[in-house]
C-alpha cells in the first residue's frame, strides 16, 4: 500500500483518506482494500462561513460553533467520542458504513461482494437485529448510523462535490438486487461542502444504549421553517430516513419493534419543543 498527499481534487484511482476513523478500521479488517491512499486533508475545504460548511470541518469544530443550527450542532456533540470527533470530518461522517455486525464481521451478506457476485442473504433478518432497521428492511436490514446525516436531511441541506450539487438526501440510495450501493457517490467524486438553507429552529434528540458515545438506536432531527416542520431519523433504515408518512408505516423485525416506540416518543418531543420555543 502507498500513501500520497493530494495536490488537487483528482484522485487518479486512489482511495481518499481524511480523518481515517472509518476507513482505517475497514482497511485493517480487510473490508476495504486499497493500493493507494490519498490524504485529502489539504484539498478539501474545512472552514465554516455562515451557511457554508467545508466537508473537511471536524465534528469537534461543528459542535461548538454558534453559527451552526441546533440540530446539526447537537448531532455532532452527541456523535461518537471526543477523540473521534477531533479528527472525524463532516464529509466522512456522511459516508460512513453501517454498524450492522454481520456486515462488519464480513458475513457474506447482500452488501458484500463474494467470489461470484454479491451475497444473497441478509443475516440480520433471521438473526440478531436489535439495532437494525424498522423501515425498508426487506432486502437489507442495516441501519444508517449517521446522526449528522439525519440532521442535514431535516435541515434540507445541499451538498457540493467536485462533480455536482445535490440535496443531502440524494447522496443516499436503498440497496437493491441490481445495485448494492448505499450512496450515489461516483468513483473519484469528493464531498467538498454543505450549504444550509435558512431555518427558524431545529433540534436533534438521540436514544443510545449508554448516555454518551453510542451509535443511535434512534436519532430524531426536526427543523421548522415558516411553520413547516421536517423530521428525519437516524438508525431506522439503511439510509437517513426523511419521515414523510407515519411511524405506523414502520415494518419492524421481531426484536426491534421497541424502536418504533422510541421514535414515536422522540418525534413527539422534538416537534413539540420546536412549537413551544
Amino acid at each position: 500500500m502507498e500513501l500520497r498527499r493530494a495536490s488537487s481534487l483528482e484522485l487518479d484511482g486512489g482511495t481518499p483518506l481524511h480523518g481515517g476513523t472509518e476507513l482505517v478500521p475497514l482497511l485493517r479488517s480487510g473490508i476495504v482494500q486499497a493500493e493507494t491512499l490519498v490524504d485529502i486533508r489539504g484539498v478539501v475545504p474545512r472552514g465554516i462561513d455562515g451557511s457554508t460548511i467545508g466537508a473537511g470541518a471536524t465534528l469537534a469544530e461543528l459542535e461548538c460553533d454558534p453559527q451552526i443550527p441546533d440540530a446539526l450542532r447537537e448531532a455532532c456533540r452527541l456523535a461518537a467520542s471526543p477523540q473521534l470527533r477531533n479528527v472525524g470530518s463532516l464529509g466522512g461522517n456522511l459516508l460512513q458504513s453501517t454498524r450492522c455486525w454481520y456486515w462488519r464481521l464480513k458475513w457474506p451478506c447482500r452488501l458484500h461482494r463474494t467470489s461470484d457476485g454479491f451475497g444473497e442473504e441478509c443475516f440480520a433478518q433471521e438473526g440478531e437485529h436489535r439495532e437494525h432497521a424498522i423501515f425498508e428492511n426487506g432486502f437489507c436490514a442495516s441501519a444508517h448510523p449517521s446522526d449528522v446525516a439525519a440532521a442535514l436531511v431535516a435541515l434540507g441541506a445541499t451538498l457540493r462535490t467536485n462533480r455536482r450539487e445535490l440535496p443531502v438526501a440524494d447522496l443516499y440510495r436503498l440497496p437493491s438486487e441490481d445495485d448494492r450501493r448505499t450512496t450515489t457517490l461516483e468513483p473519484g467524486e469528493l464531498l467538498l461542502s454543505v450549504e444550509l438553507p435558512q431555518t427558524d429552529r431545529s433540534v436533534y434528540l438521540k436514544a443510545m444504549d449508554r448516555k454518551s458515545w453510542g451509535f443511535p438506536l434512534v436519532g430524531v432531527a426536526a427543523a421548522r421553517t415558516e411553520g413547516e416542520t421536517r423530521v428525519a431519523l437516524a438508525g431506522v433504515a439503511p439510509i437517513p430516513w426523511l419521515l414523510e408518512g407515519s411511524l405506523d408505516d414502520a415494518t419492524p423485525l421481531p426484536r426491534n419493534a421497541y424502536k418504533v416506540d422510541v421514535a414515536r416518543a422522540l418525534v413527539k418531543r422534538a416537534v413539540s419543543s420546536l412549537e413551544a420555543s
Binding site: 500513501l3 491512499l37 467520542s81 471526543p82 477523540q83 479528527v87
Partner: protein
C-alpha cells in the same frame, strides 16, 4: 522509522520506538486506551496511520511523566487494573490545558471516549477535579 504504509501510530510507538506506555485494547477506535496528543489534540493512535502524522508533535504518556495529573490519579487511587490509565491521563491533560477548572459536565463530556472496564470513573472524575491540589 521504517514502518510500512498501513502501520498505525500505536504500532510505531510501541514496536519501533519501544514507547509502550501507550496501550492498545480494542484496536478499532472504540475504547480510548491508545489516546495520544497530536499537536495537543487527543487522538486515537490505534486508528491513526503513522504516515499521516507528518511533522505534527506527538505527546504520549511518557511525555507527561511529571504532569500533576499523574500524581492526582495516584493520590485519588483513580485506577484499578491500570490498563486504560495512560489514555485517561492524556485525555485529562488536554482537558485541563484548555479548561483548568472543568465542571462535572465538562469532565464527563471530555472523558466520554475513555472507557474503564474496572469502573473507576468516580475517582477519575475526582482526580481531574482536584488535579491542582
Amino acid at each position: 522509522m521504517h514502518s510500512e504504509v498501513g502501520t498505525t501510530l500505536a504500532e510505531a510507538l510501541r514496536d519501533e520506538l519501544s514507547l509502550t506506555g501507550t496501550k492498545v485494547a480494542c484496536a478499532e477506535g472504540h475504547c480510548g486506551a491508545c489516546t495520544v496528543l497530536i499537536d495537543g489534540v487527543p487522538t486515537l493512535s490505534c486508528i491513526t496511520l503513522v504516515h499521516t502524522v507528518g511533522d505534527a508533535k506527538v505527546t504520549t504518556i511518557e511525555g507527561l511523566r511529571d504532569h500533576p495529573m499523574v500524581h492526582a490519579f495516584v493520590r485519588e487511587d483513580a485506577l484499578q487494573c491500570g490498563f486504560c490509565t495512560p489514555g485517561q491521563i492524556v485525555s485529562a491533560v488536554a482537558l485541563v490545558d484548555a479548561t483548568p477548572k472543568p465542571s462535572t459536565e465538562e469532565i464527563r463530556h471530555a472523558m466520554a471516549g475513555n472507557l474503564c472496564r474496572c469502573g473507576a470513573y468516580p475517582k477519575i472524575e475526582e482526580a481531574i477535579r482536584t488535579w491542582q491540589d
